[in-house]
Amino acid sequence: MALEALKDVVRKIKSSSSIDKYLVEEIVRDIQRALLRADVNVRHVKQISDAIKKRALSEDVLPTFNVREHIIKIVYEELMRGIGEGLDIPLKKAKIMLVGLQGSGKTTTTAKMAKYFKDKGLKAGVITADTWRPAAYDQLKQLAEAYDIGFYGDKNEKDAVKIVRDGLEKMKDYDIIIIDTAGRHALEEGLINEMIEISRVANPDYKLLVLDAAIGQLASTQAKRFHDAIGIDGIVITKFDGTAKGGGALSAAREIGIPIAFLGTGEKVEDFEKFDPAGFVSRLLGMGDIKALLEKV
C-alpha cells in the first residue's frame, strides 16, 4: 500500500499514454489561443508552446497538481522567463527617466510615480523635457501642482537637453526626480538621437519604457530599438484598467530581458500599482487564480 502511494506522489505525464498526450495537446491549444488573444508576440507564442509541450511531458507532476495545473505552472514560468518578478526601486535618491511611444502615458505616469514616492516620504520632483507636443508643459505642471509635487520646466526653451541639465541642477536637493520626455517611435531617427542625448546628460538610475497595455505585435521591435539606444531598465504598463491584457508589453519585456515595474490602472494620479506577476498572468490567460496555484507548490 505504502509503496503504491509513494509511486503516485511523483508522477510523470507518460508520453506513451495517449490520453495524457492528447490532453496536453488540447491544453496547449487553449493556451495558444489565450496568448494570441492577449497580444503576446506570435513568435513568442511559438517558443512558449514548444517549451510547454517538451516540459509538460518530461517533468514531474507535483502530487497536488492535475495535468492542467501542471501545465499552467509551466506556462507561468515560461512567460516570466528572463524578466524576473518585478523591479524594486529602493527608497533613496534616484533619477528616473520615462520614454516611450506617442500617447502611451508617460506624462501621466511621471506624475503618478512622483506621487508614489512622495507618499513613501521622499521629496519628489518632475522635469518636463517634452518640447514637441503642444501644451506638454501645461499638462505636467497642472498635475504636479495638484499633487504638490516639485516641478521644473521652461516653456520658451526648445532644447530638451538643456532643460534637463538646468532642471537637475535646480532640483539637487530632491530625492526622486522623474524626467518626462516627448513621445517617439523607433523610426524617428532625430527623436531617438534626442533621447540618447538626454539620457547621456541626465545619467538616470532607471530608464523606464512606458507601454500601453493594448499595444500589439509591434511592441517587441519598438522596445528593442529603445533598449539598443539607451538601455532600458524596466517597463511600465499603462491603461490596464480597460480590457487590454498587456501581452504586447510582456513580449517587449521578454524580448529585451528586463522586468515590468509598475502598472497604470486609471487616469487619476492615484491609479498606480506595483507589478504583480501572478495577478498579471492570471488576467492574461483568463484561466483562474495563478497565485493560489503557485502557493499550492
Binding site: 488573444r37 497580444d39 506617442q102 500617447g103 501645461d138 500589439g216 480597460g242 491584457k245 487616469e267
Partner: protein
Amino acid sequence: VFEREVIIDEGKLEGILSELEMILLESDVAFDVVDEITQKLKDSLVGRRKKIGQKLSDIVIDELKSILKDILDRNRFDFDEFVRNVDKPANILFVGVNGTGKTTTIAKIAKRLTSQGYSVVVAAGDTFRAGAIEQLEEHAKNLGVKIIKHKTGADPAAVIFDAIKHAEAKGIDIVLSDTAGRMHTKKNLIDQLGKIKRVTKPALTIFVDESLAGNDAIERARMFNDAVGIDGSILTKLDADPKGGTAISISYITGKPVLFVGTGQSYDDLEKFSSEWLIGRIFD
C-alpha cells in the same frame, strides 16, 4: 479543349490557411477576426473546382484579399463629398480611448478643411484631462482657427453646444469637437458621450484609434459603436510601422469604414484610407 479539374478539399487548404493566419496575426488583425475570416475562406473555397496547374495558394490569397476588401469597404463614403454636401454648420465629433490621437487628428482635419476653403471652429470638449484645453488651443493658434472653450471641469456638451451656436452666428461651416479620452469600460463616461451626442447632434461621429493596438481594438470599437454609435474611424500612428491589421479588426466589428490614417505628428500627416493600399501593405 479538354482541361482537367480538381475539387478543393479542406485537407489541401490546411497548410495554406495556417500560413495566412500567421500573416494576419502578425499584422495585428485580432485573433477572433482571423478565426472568422478563415472560416469564411473555407466556406467559399471547399468544394470549388480548380484547373490542374492553377496554383491553390494563388486562389486562396485572391479570395482572402476579396474578403478583406469587402470588410474594409462596407458602408464606405467619401469624407470630402460628405463635407461638401452636409448642411452647415456641421458638427463632427471625435471619440475614442485615451491617447489614441483625437486632438492631433482634429488639428489635421482642421488644416485639411481650411485649405479646401471651409471655415472651421474647434470645440475644447475635453474639459477633464490636464492640459487638454491648452493643447487644442495651441493647435488652433498654429492653424489660425477659432477655439471655443470653457474651464476645466465644465460640461463638455455645453462647450460643443456653444461652438455650434458660434458657428451658426458667424456662418462657419464645420465644428470639430474634441472629447476626453475614455475607457470603453467606464459606463458613466460612455453615457456622457451619449448625452453629448443627444445635445449636439453631430453630423458625423468619428472613432479614433491607433494602429499600434492589437486585439483590444475589437473590444473598444465594439463598445463605442454599440453604446455611442460611430460613422467611421481614423487610424493613427501608421508611421510607427505597424502593418495596420487593426483597420481590418475595427471595420469588421463596426461595419463602418476607416476614413483616414495618421502618418506622423505634423498637420499634413493625414492620408485618405484605401483598402487596396492596406491589403498591399499586409501581403506584398
